[in-house]
C-alpha cells in the first residue's frame, strides 16, 4: 500500500469513526437522546451568549444610525436663513416616572420643511405624532399625569426608522408660536455619526469586561461538552469489546461531542433568535432596541460556528487523556495520579508577564494600542482560576475527613471525583475574579469620571431654567404657578442676564463679567442677605472662592448685556456689597442682585430664567407635576435634577454594559450549572433510590448535594478573590492608581456568586427529590 493510499484510509477511518460517534449520540433511545440534548442545551446557552456578544457592534451601529438620522444638531457657525425648506425646532424632551421621553416641538417655515425620519406628515399646531409606546402610555391608565403635559391631539405614529428602539417614548409636537431667537432652525434632519473613540482607560475597562464576561461562557461550553462523560466511557468500553482500538474510541467520542455541539449551535441559534425578541420588552437605563438590531456580525458568527464544535472535540480528546478505556470497563488514570500544579501556574504567570510591563503606562491622555496585550494578560490570569481550581479542590478535599453523614458523603464524593464539581464552579469563579478586578478598577478610576457638581440637592432637588419668559412680570407669574403646583414645597427664582465689562482685560486675563440676578426684593432676599431693599436697588456678592484671572466688574464700571441687543449699562456706584446665603446655590461666583427697576427696559426679554425647586417628599408624583407646570409655562424651559455628583456618560455606559453583561453571564452560569447538576443527579438515580430504600432521610441527601457544591464554591471564590485582587492591583497600577481594596464590593460579588449556587441547588431540589423516589429501583 502506498503512503498516499494509507493516508486516504486514515482519513476515511477518521470520518467513519466520527460518523459512528454521531450515530451513538442519537441512538441509545431516550437515555442517549436526553444526554445529547442536555449537552446541546448547555452548549446552546453559551452559543446564544456568544452570538449576543457578536451582535454588539451591529446593535450599537443600528441604534446610532437611527438616532443620528433624526438628529437636529447643526455643526456650523453660519446662520441659516428662514426659507421654504426650513423648520424651527425645540427640544421639549421630558421624563416621566423615571423614563426618558424624547420630544421635539416643530414649526415648519415653508412647504418644503424637512420631516424627521418615521414621520410622514408634520403635525400642525396643537397636534402631535407619537411613538407606539408613548401612545400606549398616554391612552393607558398609567399615563394620566403625562396626558396633562402632552395634551395635543395625536394625529400619527412615528415609524420604527425614527425611533431609538421599540419601547422608546417619543413625540413630535406641532407649533406656530416658536421664537426664532430661542428655537433652532434646520433644513434637514441627520448628522454624520462622529462619535469619538474611547479614551485608553475606558478602552481598557471595556476590553477587560469583554474578557471577563466571555471567558466564563467558554468555560461553561467546555463543561457542558463533558457532561455525561462517565456513561459515554462505559459505552466506549463496549465498543472496545467488539474490536475498536484506543484511537478509534477517542475519535468516536470526538464525533459524539461534535454532534452534540453542532446541535448546541442550533439550540443556541434558536435561543438567540427567540431571546432577541425579548429586547423589545425591556428598557435598561433609557436604552431600548429593536429585535432586528441584534444581528451577529458575519465574521464573528462564522468564528462561533467553526470554533465551538472544534473546541468541543478538543476538550473531549483532552479530557480522555486521563482515561484508559478497556474492553471490560473504564480505567481512570486519575485514580492514582494527583493533579499537577506546575503547568497550571503557567497561564497566570504568563498573564502577569504580559500585564506587568504596562504598569504606569496608561492614562486618559496617552494613546491606546495595547488592548490586545491587556486582553491576553487578563484572559490568561482568569484562565489561571479555571485551571488552578481543580488542583485546589483536590488538594483541599483530600485533607477533609470526619463529620456528619451529609458532610462525609459530600467530601468522599469530591475525593473520588472532584473534577466535575470544580469544572462546574470554575465558570462562576472566573466571573467573580474578573468582577472583583473590575470593581477595584471602577472604584479607582471613578473619581476621574465622576465630577462634583457643587450642587446641594438638600436645598433644592430640581432646577428649572431656560430662555426668558418675556420680562420680570412673566418670571413672577411662572414663580407663582410653580408655587401653586402640587407637591412643590418651596420655589425661589429669578431672571438672569450676563453682563461683560467693556474695559479691555488685563494682559493674559479674561474679560471681566458677571451674572445679574434680577428679581424683586422678596425674590432677591431668597439668595442674599439684604438688610434693606427697595425698587431700583442693586447689590453685589463676591464668589465664595474667587476665580483668579476672571474678575467681576466693579460698581461704577460700564458693562454690556449679552442679550443679543448689546445694551450698555453702568453698574450703579452705590451698589451695596452683600453676602449670599450660606445655602444659596449662587455662591460659586460673584453676582449682581438687581431689582428690575434698576435696569434699562427690555433687557430681560433676551435673558434667561432660573428656578430652584424644593419638592415635598410625601408627594410621589411631585416631579411629574413640576414638569407639567414647566412645559405649560414655556417650551423653552428645562427641568434638571440637581445632583452632588455627575457621572461621565461613557463611563456610565460602560458601567451599564458591565451590569447587563454580568446579569446575562450569571444567568448563563446559573442555567448551565443547573443542567450539569441535573445531569450529575440523573447519573446517580439508582444509588439515590437505594439510599432512600434503606431509610436515608431526604434532608441528609439534600445537604450532601448542597455541601458537594458548596465546598468547591467556597474554594473557587477564595481563589477568585486572590486572583481578582491580583488582577485588580495590576490594572490599577497600569493606570497609576494606588491600590485600594473595597471589601464591601468583594462581599457583594462573592455573595451574588454564592447566591447563584444556592439558587441552582434550590432549583435542582425538586429533581433530586423526584429521583429519590424508590421508583428508581425498578429496572423493568
Amino acid at each position: 500500500m502506498t503512503e498516499r493510499s494509507r493516508r486516504r484510509v486514515g482519513v476515511g477511518r477518521w470520518i467513519t469513526d466520527l460518523l459512528l460517534g454521531c450515530r451513538l449520540a442519537v441512538s441509545g433511545g431516550r437515555e442517549g437522546w436526553t444526554r445529547t440534548v442536555l449537552t446541546a442545551v448547555g452548549v446552546g446557552l453559551g452559543v446564544a451568549l456568544l452570538l449576543v456578544s457578536a451582535a454588539i457592534p451591529n446593535m450599537l451601529d443600528a441604534r446610532s444610525e437611527r438616532t443620528s438620522a433624526r438628529s437636529d444638531l447643526r455643526f456650523t457657525q453660519q446662520e441659516l436663513p428662514a426659507g421654504d425648506d426650513t423648520l424651527l425646532i425645540v427640544d421639549v424632551g421630558t421624563r416621566y416616572r423615571g423614563e426618558h421621553v424624547y420630544g421635539r416641538m416643530l414649526q415648519p417655515e415653508g412647504p418644503d420643511a424637512p420631516r424627521p425620519p418615521g414621520v410622514t406628515e408634520l403635525p400642525g399646531p396643537g397636534e402631535m405624532v407619537v411613538s407606539p409606546s408613548l401612545e400606549k402610555l398616554l391612552t393607558g391608565p398609567d399615563g394620566a399625569l403625562l396626558r396633562e403635559r402632552l395634551d395635543a391631539r395625536i394625529v400619527g405614529t412615528i415609524g420604527d426608522e425614527g425611533l431609538g428602539g421599540a419601547l422608546e417614548h417619543a413625540f413630535y409636537l406641532g407649533s406656530d408660536s416658536l421664537d426664532p431667537d430661542h428655537a433652532r432652525r434646520i433644513d434637514g434632519f441627520g448628522t454624520p455619526d462622529d462619535s469619538e473613540g474611547l479614551d485608553p482607560v475606558l478602552l481598557m475597562l471595556t476590553v477587560v469586561i469583554l474578557a471577563v464576561l466571555l471567558l466564563p461562557v467558554a468555560v461553561f461550553i467546555g463543561a457542558a461538552v463533558r457532561s455525561g462523560s462517565d456513561r459515554r466511557d462505559r459505552r466506549l468500553a463496549a465498543l472496545r469489546l467488539v474490536g475498536a482500538d484506543g484511537a478509534m474510541t477517542r475519535r468516536i467520542a470526538a464525533g459524539e461531542a461534535a454532534f452534540a455541539s453542532v446541535l448546541g449551535l442550533g439550540v443556541g441559534a434558536v435561543c438567540f433568535f427567540a431571546g432577541r425578541q425579548l429586547v423589545e420588552l425591556v428598557t435598561v437605563a433609557d436604552v431600548t432596541l429593536f429585535a432586528g438590531d441584534i444581528r451577529p456580525t458575519l465574521p464573528l458568527a462564522l468564528l462561533i460556528v467553526l470554533a465551538v464544535p472544534a473546541a468541543a472535540v478538543a476538550v473531549t480528546v483532552f479530557a480522555l487523556r486521563r482515561v484508559v478505556i478497556e474492553p471490560l470497563g473504564v480505567v481512570r488514570h486519575a485514580a492514582g495520579t494527583r493533579r499537577r500544579l506546575w503547568w497550571r501556574l503557567v497561564p497566570p504567570v504568563l498573564g502577569l508577564a504580559l500585564l506587568t510591563p504596562l504598569i504606569g503606562t496608561i492614562d486618559a491622555e496617552s494613546g491606546g494600542g495595547n488592548e490586545t496585550q491587556i486582553a491576553a494578560g487578563a484572559v490568561l490570569l482568569l484562565i489561571g482560576v479555571a485551571v488552578l481550581l481543580p488542583w485546589l479542590v483536590e488538594a483541599v478535599v483530600g485533607r477533609l475527613s470526619g463529620g456528619a453523614v451529609p458532610w462525609q458523603l459530600a467530601t468522599r464524593r469530591l475525593q473520588l471525583s472532584s473534577g466535575t464539581s470544580a469544572r462546574v464552579v470554575s465558570g462562576i469563579a472566573v466571573a467573580s475574579a474578573g468582577a472583583i478586578a473590575l470593581q477595584m478598577l471602577f472604584a479607582g478610576v471613578s473619581a476621574d469620571y465622576v465630577e462634583e457638581t457643587g450642587q446641594d440637592p438638600e436645598r433644592a432637588q430640581f432646577q428649572v431654567w431656560g430662555w426668558s419668559l418675556g420680562g420680570h412680570s412673566e418670571t413672577e407669574s411662572a414663580l407663582r404657578r410653580l408655587r401653586e403646583t402640587t407637591g412643590i414645597r418651596d420655589v425661589s427664582g429669578f431672571s438672569t442676564v450676563y453682563a461683560a465689562s467693556v474695559a479691555e482685560p488685563a494682559p493674559g486675563g479674561l474679560p471681566a463679567g458677571v451674572d445679574l440676578v434680577v428679581g424683586d426684593c422678596a425674590m432677591l432676599a431668597e439668595f442674599a442677605r439684604l438688610e434693606s431693599c427697595a425698587a431700583g436697588d442693586v447689590f453685589m456678592s463676591e464668589a465664595a472662592q474667587p476665580v483668579p484671572d476672571a474678575p467681576a466688574p466693579k460698581p461704577g464700571e460700564r458693562v454690556v448685556m449679552s442679550d443679543g441687543t448689546a445694551t450698555e449699562w453702568t453698574i450703579p456706584a452705590g451698589t451695596r456689597m452683600v453676602a449670599a446665603h450660606p445655602d444659596s446655590p449662587l455662591q460659586d461666583a460673584a453676582r449682581l442682585y438687581v431689582t428690575p427697576e434698576a435696569l434699562p427696559p427690555d433687557v430681560l426679554r433676551h435673558g434667561r430664567v432660573e428656578f430652584y425647586v424644593n419638592l415635598d417628599p410625601a408627594e410621589p408624583d411631585a416631579v411629574e407635576h413640576l414638569r407639567t407646570t414647566a412645559v405649560k409655562a414655556s417650551p423653552y424651559l428645562s427641568v434638571i435634577e440637581r445632583v452632588a455628583l455627575r457621572e461621565n456618560d461613557r463611563f456610565a455606559d460602560i458601567r451599564l454594559g458591565l451590569f447587563v453583561g454580568a446579569v446575562l453571564t450569571l444567568l448563563l452560569i446559573g442555567a448551565s450549572m443547573l443542567v450539569t447538576t441535573l445531569e450529575q443527579l440523573r447519573e446517580r438515580q439508582r444509588l439515590l433510590a437505594v439510599l432512600v430504600a434503606f431509610g436515608t432521610r431526604r434532608s441528609t441527601l439534600t445537604w450532601s448535594v448542597l455541601l458537594q457544591t458548596a465546598v468547591p464554591v467556597v474554594l473557587g471564590l477564595a481563589l477568585a478573590i486572590g486572583v481578582g485582587l491580583g488582577l485588580g492591583a495590576v490594572l490599577m497600577s497600569m493606570v497609576d492608581l494606588s491600590v485600594r481594596i473595597d471589601w464591601t464590593s468583594i462581599g457583594q460579588i462573592t455573595g451574588v456568586a454564592a447566591g447563584v449556587v444556592l439558587l441552582v441547588t434550590v432549583l435542582s431540589l425538586p429533581v433530586l427529590w423526584r429521583l429519590m423516589r424508590p421508583d428508581g429501583l425498578r429496572t423493568e
Binding site: G402, V405, Q408, L409, R412, R413, Q415, L416, S417, R686, L687, V690, L691, V692, A693, F694, G695, T696, R697, T700, P774, D775, L777, R778, T779, E780
Partner: protein, 239 residues
C-alpha cells in the same frame, strides 16, 4: 417436596411480622401487582419467585414500604404501613429493615467500611461506634480485607458480601434481598446466600428473598410464586 397452599392460609411457625393483603400496583398502563398477598413470620426465610416482569420486585418494594401500593393493606407488627408518613416509613426502614440489591447499591465514594457503617450513622450512631460494629460485620462476612477499599476496587462477590453486612449491621427484623446473587457466578452466589441466611438465622432476622433461581430459592423456608401480579404460595418440606 413442595405443595401449594393459598397465601396466608397456612399457620405460621411463630409471631407474624408482616402481612400484605390484596395488593394492587400499576406503573402507568402496566399492572405490576393485581391482588398479591403474603405473610412473613419472625425468623423465617421466604423466597418470592416468578418470571421476569411478574411483579416480584414490586411486591418486595411494597412490603418493605419503599413503594406505596395503589390498594391493599400492609401491616408490620400491628402498624399499617399505608397509614404511615414517608418520614415514619423511612425511619422504619432504617431501624427495622435491611436491604440487599442486585447491583448499584454501595455508595461508590465511600469505603466498604463506611458503606457498612452508613445505616448506623443515618440512625444517629457516632462514627467510631458505627465503624466498630461495621468492622465486626465485615469480619463475619469474611471481607475485612476490603474494609478500606472503595466498591469500585473490589470484586462483585465481595461487594455483595459487603452489602449483606450493611443490611444486617443495624440488627434488622427483616432483610429484603432483591436478586442478591443476580450478578454473581454460582460459586460466589452460593457463598453470599450461605452467609446471608446463616447470619440472618443467627440474629433472628426474617429474610424476604426475590429470585428467579431455584438454587437460590432453595435457601428459603417457603416460596411464594408471583405470576401476572398475583401470588401463589408453595410450601416446602424436608428442608
Amino acid at each position: 417436596m413442595k405443595h401449594a397452599t393459598d397465601a396466608g392460609a397456612r399457620s405460621l411457625p411463630s409471631e407474624t411480622l408482616l402481612t400484605a393483603v390484596d395488593l394492587h400496583k400499576s406503573f402507568g398502563p402496566t399492572t405490576a401487582l393485581a391482588g398479591a398477598s403474603m405473610e412473613l413470620a419472625a425468623g423465617e426465610v421466604v423466597a418470592i419467585m416468578g418470571p421476569s416482569g411478574s411483579g416480584k420486585s414490586t411486591l418486595l418494594h411494597c412490603a418493605a414500604g419503599i413503594v406505596a401500593p395503589d390498594s391493599g393493606r400492609i401491616v408490620y407488627r400491628g402498624r399499617e404501613l399505608s397509614g404511615m408518613s414517608d418520614a415514619a416509613r423511612s425511619a422504619l426502614r432504617r431501624s427495622e429493615f435491611g436491604f440487599v440489591f442486585q447491583f448499584g447499591q454501595l455508595v461508590p465514594e465511600l469505603t466498604c467500611l463506611e458503606n457498612v457503617a452508613l445505616p448506623l450513622r443515618l440512625d444517629g450512631h457516632r462514627r467510631r461506634a458505627a465503624e466498630r460494629r461495621a468492622t465486626e460485620w465485615l469480619e463475619r462476612l469474611e471481607v475485612t480485607d476490603v474494609a478500606h477499599k472503595r466498591p469500585g476496587e473490589i470484586s462483585g462477590g465481595q461487594g455483595q458480601r459487603v452489602a449483606v453486612a450493611r443490611s444486617l449491621v443495624t440488627g434488622p427484623r427483616v432483610v429484603f434481598a432483591d436478586e442478591p446473587t443476580g450478578a454473581l457466578d454460582s460459586l460466589n452466589g452460593e457463598r453470599v446466600m450461605t452467609l446471608l441466611t446463616e447470619a440472618a438465622r443467627e440474629t433472628g432476622a426474617a429474610v424476604v428473598l426475590v429470585t428467579h433461581e431455584p438454587r437460590v430459592a432453595a435457601y428459603s423456608d417457603r416460596e411464594i410464586v408471583v405470576r401476572d401480579g398475583r401470588t401463589r404460595e408453595m410450601e416446602l418440606t424436608g428442608r
